[in-house]
């Protein structure tokens, strides 16, 4: 008899805790989903302007999306999208090559300047990233890359140029591939290049996918470098500057709901890529060859 009551009270206590925990999670999840939900609703809102009188839009329409893609006279969103896509593709190719090369050298090859390089790389990453921005801008100007269409080339160079410093995650992955594989291949007379291209790369799919996706995403996510380099050249704006512009004082009244539409358009593909990438990131962290 005694035993049963304690068991019951334990069960009740547990149930109370469970209800409490689920309530807590619901509130937290609501806070996290709320802004997302709100921006999706706003993108369909029939009212123009950012100063809303009610939380939920009163009328719904698709005009905001239509405006975003057809009214190109002031803020040319389709062009910005195209710019960012071009920049992203080239950045992705160059950065992926740079990151994988540096990571492989740091992980697998032993040479005199390896340790100094690791230390210097660590120090360089401690400087605020855009501290050198002004200097980069002048260097690009001297090279003749600061005007017109060449700004796209400049942005590609800026995004991919320093990417060799971001080798830590890929290096960590390469470190987990057993060295015995390399040694066996070297004994069979393979060159180190062969080992790199025929053994290491094929075994590293998760980290390669991860590197490709992160470098593809960086031009979409960056705001500050693009702003400093593009300045007033509206024809080379990327989507992030475009969206930021829409919230400037002179545009916000006409463009606020289109900003929401643009945010949705940009976020959906990026979110999809990100969730896809997450799987490879986790796999990449957990190492290469298992068992």
């Amino acid at each position: 008899m005694m035993k049963k009551t304690t068991k019951n009270s334990m069960g009740v206590k547990r149930r109370v805790t469970n209800v409490f925990v689920h309530l807590f999670l619901t509130v937290m999840a609501a806070i996290w989903v709320f802004p997302v939900f709100w921006v999706v609703l706003t993108s369909f809102s029939g009212q123009i302007g950012s100063y809303v009188s009610s939380f939920l839009p009163k009328t719904y329409t698709l005009d905001n999306y239509k405006k975003l893609f057809t009214e190109t006279a002031i803020l040319n969103f389709p062009l910005m999208f195209k710019n960012t896509l071009i920049i992203a593709v080239f950045t992705c190719i160059i950065s992926t090559f740079f990151v994988l090369s540096v990571s492989y050298c740091m992980s697998r090859l032993r040479f005199k300047v390896r340790k100094p390089f690791l230390n210097i790389a660590l120090i360089l990453t401690l400087f605020p990233g855009f501290m050198s921005m002004i200097a980069v801008y002048y260097i690009l100007k001297v090279l003749g890359l600061s005007e017109g269409a060449m700004i796209r080339v400049a942005l590609i160079l800026v995004y991919s140029g320093g990417s060799g410093l971001g080798f830590y995650i890929a290096k960590g992955f390469f470190d987990t591939i057993p060295k015995a594989l390399d040694e066996a291949a070297l004994l069979d007379g393979a060159t180190k290049w062969k080992v790199y291209t025929k053994i290491t790369i094929p075994l590293s799919k998760p980290i390669i996918v991860y590197t490709i996706l992160t470098s593809f995403l960086s031009p979409w996510l960056d705001f500050i470098f693009a702003k400093v380099i593009c300045r007033a050249n509206a024809s080379t704006y990327t989507v992030s500057i475009g969206l930021w512009k829409m919230l400037e004082k002179e545009y916000i009244n006409d463009w606020f709901t289109s900003f929401a539409a643009g945010a949705v358009c940009v976020s959906i593909p990026i979110a999809a890529l990100f969730i896809y990438m997450q799987r490879y990131y986790v796999e990449g962290l957990s190492g290469g060859v298992k068992g």
């Binding site: 805790t17 925990v21 689920h22 807590f24 999840a29 996290w32 802004p35 709100w38 921006v39 950012s50 009610s54 090559f97 090369s101 540096v102 050298c105 090859l109 032993r110 040479f111 005199k112 390896r114 340790k115 660590l122 120090i123 360089l124 401690l126 400087f127 605020p128 855009f130 501290m131 200097a135 980069v136 002048y138 260097i139 001297v142 800026v158 140029g161 320093g162 990417s163 060799g164 410093l165 470190d175 987990t176 060159t191 180190k192 290049w193 790199y196 996510l221 500050i224 400093v228 992030s240 969206l243 930021w244 919230l247 606020f256 945010a263 976020s267 969730i275 997450q278 986790v282 962290l285």
Partner: protein, 462 residues
């Protein structure tokens, strides 16, 4: 541990021991090697490494031509940074005003720096060429075959693979990270700012800017100390709260009795998947005096007047920290979930037997274990937060800004640096701020990094 470490280090040094050093080349080199010190590549050509020799010679000729054409002028202008201003002169012949070409200190500084770097690069190649000449000499006396050009090139795919693979990335890092950084650092020692009209012509001023920034009595100095204080408060709170709350969230979601784990996880991960600048701009709009949050609270009858989320200094500081929690907690949750599951179950069971409640278990078992494992992650987060440009710039823009000040109440060192350079053109002070930011970060993280196991025993698991 440290002894073992030293052993590894010295082993790595002896692995790269080579008899072909500069010192040996000078003391034991024959006449061809000696000539190669003046005419690069001569020693190689003399030993039938014609391709390599011409390669070295090409560099020497290119460097000398460059120095004659502009290098010497660039170096000569570096100490003064130019002094001739652009002037308007009446031209009698043409009957119009014409502009004389003035000096541009910024370009002179940039060209001067580039020339110095090219010279350093040339010296490196020069040393390599002398060593190579000496090696060729030794090989001939010892009767060892000297590689020809094709063999040298194929070695790039084997024992010299690192040279091939690193050439591109290193050039990129040099051009877009190292040179700009040196350039910016050198600006800290000039008076390049709109103050006193020094935007075109400026001079070296030594440590004057550093003294100004550190001086409590100067307006810039006062701003610096208050911004530094807020930056550290921000970094500690943003890192600490994110870490602890993200961990608690992960624990709650992973509890045995929690239903729909992947659903909850999805809700939180959704916010990471949205580009940060988008979600921050949305947040900023929602937190305006007439934004969605205030409208919602008013319509629910919770408040009468709008809350000053981003307009009052204290409110704004709390708001940016809270919004940063919104951004950061899901991230921490993802990062720590896996590690949490590795905590030995026995620890929890014995705690339960001893009658410890959830809070005691968390602070006595979970937190110490996690801190032990994730110290590098916490340090990285701390550095990222000191450098957290996006959250502050996009959310509050550093505002509210007191009248006449160059920095707002929520400005971090990095956003202040941005304002000083891009908006207000105080490049000299901006560069000093950048250097101080670096010092703050370096002191914190280098010490911590070096004490972590993953740095010391890098090769333990290979």
């Amino acid at each position: 541990m440290s002894i073992k470490n030293k052993k590894i280090k010295s082993k790595e040094n002896t692995d790269f021991y080579s008899p072909y050093t500069m010192k040996n080349a000078i003391t034991k080199g024959d006449i061809f090697t000696k000539i190669a010190m003046l005419v690069m590549g001569f020693g190689n050509v003399a030993r039938k490494q014609i391709g390599k020799g011409i390669f070295f010679l090409f560099f020497e000729v290119a460097y000398i031509l460059f120095m004659i054409k502009s290098g010497i002028y660039n170096l000569s202008m570096l100490p003064s940074l130019g002094g001739t201003a652009q002037e308007k002169v009446w031209s009698e012949a043409k009957g119009i005003f014409i502009y004389t070409v003035g000096d541009n200190s910024l370009l002179l500084l940039l060209y001067g720096m580039a020339t110095i770097l090219l010279t350093v690069g040339f010296l490196v190649i020069w040393v390599e060429s002398v060593k190579s000449a000496y090696k060729a000499q030794c090989n001939v006396t010892e009767g060892v075959h000297n590689n020809n050009l094709i063999e040298d090139l194929t070695s790039l795919f084997d024992e010299n693979l690192h040279k091939l693979l690193l050439a591109g990335p290193l050039t990129g890092i040099l051009a877009f990270t190292v040179i700009p950084l040196i350039f910016m650092i050198s600006m800290a020692f000039t008076n390049y700012s709109k103050d006193g009209d020094h935007l075109i012509l400026f001079n070296w001023v030594g440590l004057q800017n550093f003294i100004k920034v550190l001086n409590f009595n100067d307006s810039i100095g006062q701003t610096f100390w208050s911004v530094l204080g807020w930056t550290l408060i921000w970094a500690v709170f943003a890192t600490g709260l994110n870490y602890i709350m993200g961990m608690i969230l992960a624990i709650i979601i992973n509890r045995r009795d929690t239903r729909g784990k992947s659903f909850w996880r999805f809700c939180f991960v959704l916010s990471i998947a949205i580009p940060q600048f988008v979600s921050l701009l949305i947040m900023r709009t929602m937190l305006q005096p007439n934004g969605a949050v205030n409208v919602l609270l008013k319509s629910m009858g919770v408040i009468q007047d709008s809350l000053p989320f981003l307009t009052d200094a204290t409110w704004a500081r709390v708001t940016v920290i809270v919004v940063n929690l919104w951004v950061g907690i899901p991230f921490t949750m993802l990062q720590v979930t896996g590690i949490l599951q590795n905590i030995p179950v026995e620890l929890y069971e014995s705690a339960k037997v001893d009658g410890a409640n959830a809070a005691v278990t968390f602070f006595r078992i979970t937190l110490p274990y996690m801190l032990f494992v994730t110290t590098p992650y916490v340090i990285t987060q701390f550095t990222n937060n000191v450098n957290n440009f996006n959250v502050i710039y996009l959310l509050s823009g550093g505002n509210p800004t007191p009248v006449g000040s160059t920095a707002g109440k929520t400005d971090l060192l990095v956003t202040w640096l941005y304002k000083l350079t891009v908006d207000q053109q105080y490049y000299d002070i901006g560069a000093v701020i950048g250097i101080f930011t670096f010092i703050v970060l370096a002191v914190f993280s280098l010490l911590a990094y070096r004490s972590t196991g993953s740095y010391k025993n890098e090769e333990e698991f290979q």
